[in-house]
Symmetry: C2
């Protein structure tokens, strides 16, 4: 991308997780190991995630080697998603971010 991206893998990381729901998707996959498309969709039940965005983000994540997509040629269709080794290696970072988020919330309880 940019000249200084080589010096800032952070930007790469940021790019990979750019997308409103990607972190949540990884988060759910980290907890449940393997999830079908519908399961993933239901996990977001009370939110506004649409099938389109879920599909799109899953495609991105697959292209970025963070999730596996296992298709079963059956009827009815069945597609399972799981984290790749690379995706799993991101879990600690995710947990770190979560811990920091909790820390932040604990300090700045007044606002969102």
């Amino acid at each position: 991308m940019k000249e200084w991206e080589k010096d800032c893998p952070i930007l790469l990381t940021q790019r990979l997780i750019s997308g409103k729901w990607k972190l949540s998707i990884i988060w759910f996959l980290a907890q449940n190991n393997v999830m079908r498309f519908g399961e993933l969709k239901n996990a977001f039940d009370d939110s506004l995630l649409t099938q389109k965005m879920l599909t799109q983000h899953l495609k991105d994540l697959e292209r970025d080697h963070l999730v596996n997509r296992q298709v079963y040629n059956e009827m009815p269709p069945k597609v399972e998603y799981s984290l790749t080794p690379t995706g799993k290696s991101f879990i600690p970072v995710l947990e770190h971010m979560e811990k920091w988020g909790q820390h932040y919330m604990h300090i700045h309880t007044d606002e969102a």
Copy 2:
């Protein structure tokens, strides 16, 4: 925001760093401790960061208690930015993300 944001401080974290250059700003401030507006702008010299975005991101970061903004009522104007304790507490997360980014680049050398 959403019901499940309380269970996912990650989303809070993601929100705080949403913005194309915020991570880089924090990164520079982490390295240099205190930087003036112009210094910060020059640090991004070879990139496309405009003053508007820099100002806007700095305002966001200030509102989110991640950076301090120290104004000197002088002529010419002088404004210094530095990380707050909360901002500094984010540095390890940043480093974690950077290490993972390097790890990722090492494995997937072929693509961006």
